[in-house]
């Protein structure tokens, strides 16, 4: 008798199991064609049929070969639970089921000598979020009436750029008492308080990136919402760099400097300044880790934009040549400020960390006044590709860290001088307006979001380990892939429409939160209007505890 091959990969080792009903299946093949991971395939199964041909039971046995759909028992082609098979099956014959007894983390490492990687998000932390214990609990009623969200006018803009203390403004008083500006101040842009976070062409498919860019242009030009998007590391199409729409774009530079040769070459031809430059030092989803674009996604157009061969593209975890905060301020910020002749705000993005306040303090005290924004990214942020261990076990939640930075500014009377922008799992429940509002009350000038934008586009991933295969280049909905066949699954105009609609809804919802606290401008630092039903959260964030 053959020994049981216990060490071979079996379906019940894998994180998802295919649930298949052969009696409903017409073998149309849709599911197999749709599964980008080759996690299912056709298979012949031998079936034993017992039957009788007479009036009295005379059981006979016959064997037949039955074509079926079966899960691949493979460490490479494992099912991600994206559910596309279920979506395409006309007969509800197939679906995937989470396997609570998965041994995947162990068998992957034992089989490959390396840890699993994925895209998407942290999946480990699924407990209640601190933001969800917070409510807008200080309601204006008699003495300070609530506003009418529909009819009052609201000033919902946030600054991006270095802000000088009033005493340092280059003002002189004219004879009539009017102030005259007699010197330069750092550039500041007043923009919508939600920035579409930095997702590169490369991480995203060209259709997806184009859809986001279209949505941003539409929001600006047609809806009057000055929404900005950040390019992500890797540059952008030269045609866009030379177009008037560049003004809606924040150019990112990260440690790989991908795409910057093209940007610099395009500078003489730019007809508009970009909205800003964002220097990415770290990322909340995988802090301390560099960017990673798997070779599978480095298609020809990516090679062209970034000026690289088809290979795994790894940005180093740090900017080579920068060894201190002071030096980064002097060298990097100054050079980017100078590159755009001090007309474009230059901001920094860092991963939330136990040390964030020190970094923030250092920047806010810099005597050159050139750091135009502190983008703080928390552990629940998303990523195109990372090692599971980074995603699940490194990082720092955003809420308390943002609060710490704000209170550090308060302690020095420097609140607002470097605008605070926060991200990392905001909008995780689907409602970004509420999260953004609460973060602003805790001290953020604005928020940025990436993963939620993918959800608007139709991303099937979630925080319970569904899909999260952005790193593979096999995105089943065409968002994070460079394969033409898969990219075509995405309708960029529908995606743009979804994003625009979401922003319009969010804008209304923001007003619906500002109105009851009686404010027509953003409640930055108004922690007094928040209450928490969790004592520990309330104490940590210095807001009122309620029960």
């Amino acid at each position: 008798m053959e020994t049981v091959k216990i060490n071979d990969i079996a379906c019940n080792d894998l994180p998802w199991k295919i649930k298949y009903h052969p009696e409903r299946c017409t073998l149309c093949g849709s599911c197999i064609a749709a599964c980008t991971f080759d996690a299912i395939g056709p298979k012949m199964e031998r079936r034993r049929i017992t039957f009788t041909e007479s009036a009295t039971p005379e059981p006979k046995t016959r064997f037949t070969a039955q074509p079926v759909i079966a899960q691949q028992n493979s460490i490479k082609n494992f099912c991600r639970g994206c559910g596309v098979c279920e979506r395409v099956c006309p007969n509800s014959a197939i679906s995937s089921e989470r396997n609570p007894d998965s041994r995947f983390n162990v068998v992957y490492a034992t089989a490959t000598g390396t840890g699993p990687k994925r895209g998407g998000r942290n999946n480990l932390e699924v407990q209640a979020r601190s933001l969800d214990t917070l409510r807008v609990g200080r309601i204006s009623q008699m003495t300070d009436p609530s506003l009418d969200a529909q009819r009052h006018s609201f000033d919902c803009l946030a600054p991006l750029g270095r802000i000088l203390p009033a005493g340092a403004l280059p003002f002189e008083q004219g004879a009539d008492g009017k102030l005259i500006q007699n010197g330069q101040t750092p550039p500041v842009r007043w923009i919508y308080p939600v920035i579409i976070g930095d997702m590169s062409i490369g991480a995203l498919s060209w259709r997806m990136w184009e859809a986001v860019a279209m949505a941003v242009a539409y929001l600006n030009e047609e809806c009057g919402l000055p929404v900005r998007m950040c390019s992500g590391e890797g540059g952008m199409p030269v045609r866009l760099l030379k177009s008037k729409y560049l003004k809606y774009m924040i150019l990112q530079i990260a440690s790989g400097h991908f795409g910057w040769n093209r940007i610099i070459q395009a500078m003489p031809h730019m007809v508009e300044d970009p909205a800003g430059v964002l220097i990415k030092i770290g990322q909340g989803a995988k802090p301390g880790d560099g960017g990673l674009l798997m070779a599978a996604k480095v298609a020809e157009h990516i090679q062209a934009i970034r000026g690289v061969p088809k290979a795994d593209l790894l940005s180093p975890p740090n900017h080579q040549g920068l060894y201190s905060i002071e030096e980064s301020v002097q060298k990097m910020f100054l050079s980017f400020n100078a590159a755009f002749k001090f007309r474009v705000p230059v901001a920094i993005k860092v991963a939330a960390s136990a040390t964030s306040v020190s970094v923030f303090n250092n920047l806010v005290r810099d005597p050159y006044n050139i750091v135009g924004g502190f983008f703080l990214d928390g552990i629940d942020g998303g990523t195109g590709a990372a090692h599971d261990i980074s995603l699940d076990h490194t990082g720092h939640p955003i809420v308390s860290k943002l609060r710490d930075c704000y209170l550090a500014a308060v302690a020095q009377g420097r609140q607002g001088q470097i605008p605070l922008w926060a991200a990392g799992g905001l909008g995780k429940t689907g409602n970004l307006a509420a999260d953004a509002f609460k973060m602003m009350c805790l001290g953020a000038n604005g928020v940025f979001t990436g993963k939620l934008i993918l959800q608007m586009a139709g991303c099937l991933g979630n925080d319970h380990s569904r899909c999260n295969a952005c790193n593979t280049g096999l995105c089943p909905v065409g968002i994070t892939t460079q394969q033409p066949v898969l990219v075509k699954r995405l309708d960029p105009e529908r995606v743009a429409e979804n994003i625009v609609n979401y922003f319009l809804a969010m804008d209304v919802e923001l007003r619906k939160l500002m109105a009851p606290i009686g404010n027509s401008s953003l409640p930055v630092g108004r922690s007094d209007c928040l209450v928490s039903s969790d004592k520990a959260v309330a104490d940590r964030l210095q807001v009122q505890y309620v029960c």
């Binding site: 003495t143 500041v188 009377g413 607002g416 606290i517 404010n519 027509s520 630092g525």
Partner: protein
Amino acid sequence: MCRIGAIKSRHYVHPSQALLLMQSQQKGHDNSGFAMVMQDLGGIFENYKHLPTLSLACTDEGLQIAKTILDTRGFRLVHEWVPQTNRQPGLDIQAMPHYVFQTFDYPEAYADASQQAKEELLLDTRLELRRDMEDDCKGFAYSFWPDVVTLKEIGDPRDIGTFFNIWQADDKFTARVITAQCRQNTNYAIVRYAAHPFFLQGYTALANGENTFYQKNKEFQQSLHRGYVGFESDSQCFLYTLHHIHHELGWSLPYYKHVITPLPFEDVVKREDQQQLLAMRQSLAHLEINGPNTIIGVLPNNTMFTCCDAKKLRPVVVGRDEDTVVLSSEVCGINEILPNRNWETDIYPNEREIVVIDNNLEVQRWKQ
């Protein structure tokens, strides 16, 4: 809602006029206290305009502390007025044992000191008095400034008037500028410091409404200036912002309005001075007010002004005759003390203007 009032006149006015101004407006909680700041003093203080007068309410112990502090700093008492208090039973007042209105000469060392040095000395002295008398409510130092007296007490304003014997007009205790409020705040603890008007280095402010940006105003102001203390009332923020803009930054009064109620972005970009206004909004975002408020303020040169929040959610009326201008939350108060004025010239300021009354009683309306 608090009701506030102010009188500015060519002639010296007795505080009974302020009581009258406020009395007809009283509703509900409004009779829970009375406070007033008198500036440009007449009567017994007229000859001491250049010397600082301390307005203090205290216990025996507080009186001793104050004396020690002032002696140590070298202030020399030149004039004292003790109000004839009427401590009859049944009055609704939480009276302090002593009310001190003492005028001092500056310490000898300050004989040749600059105006600024003297101003800093007076502020530091008042802050020290305040700090050292704070425990156990030993005393309340409201103002220590030339040509200014402050009176605040908890209770029914009518009884407070009786207690201090200020219903009966005379020519001994008068001023050309009086600002007053008849209420203790409801939001926070009942403390004397929380009663408007508030005073700092020649600046006076009183307000009604709710400062919904109190938290962020306060957090920002705390580190701006050592004199920005207390915050017993959310309306103190209006005074500190006024002081910061006008005194510390040296910007003219219209910019106070631009800072507390910035123009909407869509309006700012149409203006020639958009660069300055945007820079201001950016740098002083935490001094914006965004609740329903009317503010009455007095500058060190006794210029008086009033302005409202950007949504005009609180009322104020400016009424006047040839000799007197009266500001009041409700017009009934003005009717009480200027019954014969031409009410058609009353001004109901809008949300985008400041009404300014200079020392010639010229009333100007500045559009933001």
